[in-house]
């Protein structure tokens, strides 16, 4: 059987298209070369902090952009990752020697203030770094799995899912703030110092963490890309479009949704853990509704269907936030609010959409790439 000509392009379902390799190279160049050269240690650390948010945005692209599942509770997973990492760091910072002025030396200071005299059981394993690193991935994934399974099996989706995840974020915030003996309360877990003996507060450490963070981000992007170009990625898109059709093609829709949600949770948790390492503390203000929604807007600004867009969107919004709030603090909320509305109304595909519509056609025309038009996805219904 002779294959029709177009099918030959189908054959090589490449890991990434040429333009995507260019995007990746560009991003890597900016993260690893340009920014470290241009910025001083303080600004670089700031960018590092922003990049941790882009893990969340990346997860949202998979789960919201491709899968159509909007979670307004990604802060929960970011916070979980961050808190788990902070627990390890806090225990290390609370050596008997460091805490000898306390009534019970050797436990975190906030526990001492709350008359807790022994380390609670769920803190104990966090003296081990390997355990902590595993927990950073596994605990949020399990939590997402439980929520996802419970909801998706019962076909909770769309707006309901968004509102319920939002409520979960609210509950967790109240819990963390209320259980301050175990969680550090509203202050969070602060004054973190060393990672396995290595002082994370120095500029040198910040630099190293920045590069580790960047490398992890690229790894996550590559994994996300792997998911995206796998059949699973296409099933997610298909599911967003015609859920019933996927179901009656023999797939367990709930399972795929749960996977997307768990993946987003794990990405967010990695971001949270890196945040704790770079910023030196974790607080409940990342768990709540407001940060969770802000993180959605990063993905929306970048383009909800673009993995690279998620990173650019995060950087852009945060850069704008820092700059505006330094120069015109009063106007910042107008700017941010306006940005939300503008993106939703005029650019539902965000930066990536603008790029695809206006920039890429020129580039490809010049390069005469024989590539078919990329499957520019229209704004999804949900």
């Amino acid at each position: 059987m002779t294959r029709p000509n177009p099918a030959q392009t189908v054959n090589d379902n490449p890991f990434m298209k040429p333009m995507e390799w260019v995007s990746l190279a560009l991003l890597a160049a900016v993260i690893f070369v340009v920014l470290p050269m241009l910025l001083d240690a303080f600004r670089l650390n700031l960018v590092g902090k922003y990049l941790t948010y882009s893990f969340v945005a990346l997860g949202l692209v998979i789960c919201w952009g491709f899968g159509g599942i909007l979670s307004l509770g990604q802060g929960v997973f970011f916070g979980l990752g961050g808190y788990l990492m902070a627990m390890y760091l806090k225990l290390e910072a609370s050596s008997v020697e460091n805490t000898k002025i306390q009534s019970t030396p050797g436990i975190p200071d906030f526990m001492d203030w709350n008359q807790i005299t022994a380390l609670p059981w769920f803190w104990k394993p966090f003296t081990s770094l390997p355990f902590t690193l595993i927990a950073v991935i596994v605990v949020p994934a399990l939590f997402a799995f439980v929520i996802g399974t419970a909801m998706f099996r019962r076909r909770v989706g769309g707006t309901y899912f968004a509102i319920i995840t939002q409520a979960i974020a609210a509950i967790l915030t109240i819990l963390i703030v209320g259980q301050q003996g175990y969680t550090g309360g509203i202050n969070g877990i602060t004054d973190l110092r060393t990672l396995n003996g290595w002082d994370i507060r120095t500029d040198q450490a910040h630099n190293i963490l920045y590069f580790v963070n960047g490398a992890l981000l690229v790894a996550c992007i590559l994994f996300a890309q792997y998911v995206k170009r796998s059949k699973l990625g296409r099933i997610l898109v298909a599911m967003r479009d015609k859920e019933d059709r996927v179901r009656f093609s023999g797939y367990s829709v709930a399972g795929f949704k749960t996977f997307a949600f768990c993946l987003a949770a794990v990405f967010a948790a990695i971001g949270g853990a890196m945040f704790t390492l770079q910023v030196g503390f974790m607080s409940p203000s990342f768990v709540g509704i407001v940060p969770s929604i802000e993180m959605v807007i990063y993905a929306a600004v970048g383009g909800r269907l673009s993995l690279f867009g998620a990173v650019w969107g995060t950087l852009l919004v945060n850069w704008a936030k820092t700059t505006f709030s330094e120069s015109f603090p009063e106007l910042w909320l107008f700017g941010l609010g306006g940005l939300f509305i503008l993106v939703v109304l005029a650019f539902p595909n965000g930066l990536a959409g603008i790029y695809r519509t206006y920039v890429e056609p020129r580039l490809t025309r010049r390069a005469k790439a024989p590539e078919p038009a990329p499957a520019a996805l229209p704004h999804a219904a949900e």
Partner: protein, 261 residues
């Protein structure tokens, strides 16, 4: 095809189950007291084309929904090759070998024809399987083969959104074909098609029934006569009549509620 030559069973007699591909018995579903399907029983043989007809609101689509698990039955049983379907999940039912086409073409607009067919390919249906699914020669050959059958081999790389209505219907039939189901359920496969397309569709159906049973809902009587081995008439959620097209056409009850007007 001559319906008379095919095995037939009297209504109501409880035949030995193994002979049937599908045995629907005393199936009932009610929505807030309204019985959309009421005590429906019928049996489909292997390699049979069965058409369900009936006026609007007769419960035809609901019957298909019940078989494929989209709607849960209030009571009654659906046995497919001796296996109780009412207890299976939708994906379990599909994996058991039941395929379903929806009334309005239900395809993935955002994906290409190739990708549409690929998703229906019955391999890598678990999360992990989908993640590690390889687009190998076997897959491609099968997709191209099916694309050829459904007259879309030149549109493989086109986004499904841009197909004509008839092509979309074919694509959905193709998506079912690639699943290779033993029982194929089609909800109004020729609705909205041009005459030419309809002829091609009938040809397609005759080609694909080899080795499987087909359950069709259709309004187009000409088309029904062309393809049906046997016909079941539903009215107000109940089976009104069943048998060959010839027999059903002459049934006074059917004439009164359906063919008469």
């Amino acid at each position: 095809m001559n319906a008379a030559l095919l095995p037939s069973h009297p209504i109501g007699a409880a035949p030995a189950e193994q002979e049937f591909l599908l045995a629907v018995e005393a199936l009932t579903v009610s929505f807030d007291g309204f019985k959309a399907v009421n005590d429906v029983s019928f049996y489909v043989d292997p390699n049979e084309i069965r058409v369900i007809i009936g006026p609007n609101g007769a419960g035809k689509t609901t019957v298909l929904d019940l078989i494929c698990g989209r709607t849960k039955a209030s009571s009654g049983s659906i046995k497919y090759k001796g296996q109780e379907l009412t207890k299976l999940s939708e994906s379990g039912i599909v994996q058991a070998g039941v395929g379903r086409k929806f009334q309005t073409p239900s395809i993935y607009d955002d994906l290409t024809v190739f990708e549409n067919l690929e998703i229906s390919y019955p391999r890598g249906r678990s999360v992990f399987g989908a993640l590690t699914f390889k687009r190998d020669a076997q897959v491609r050959d099968r997709i191209e083969e099916v694309a050829h059958m459904i007259f879309l081999k030149d549109q493989l790389l086109e986004r499904a959104e841009f197909l004509s209505h008839g092509q979309k219907q074919w694509l959905e039939i193709g998506m079912l074909l690639i699943q290779d189901p033993e029982l194929l359920m089609l909800d109004e496969p020729v609705a909205g098609m041009s005459v030419g397309e309809r002829i091609k569709t009938a040809e397609l159906l005759n080609q694909i029934i080899v080795g499987r049973s087909v359950l069709v809902i259709e309004h187009d009587m000409k088309f029904v006569e062309d393809i049906a081995h046997r016909v079941t008439v539903l009215h107000q959620g109940r089976v009104l009549s069943e048998g060959s097209m010839e027999r059903v056409k002459n049934d006074p009850k059917v004439i009164e509620v359906y063919l008469g007007h």
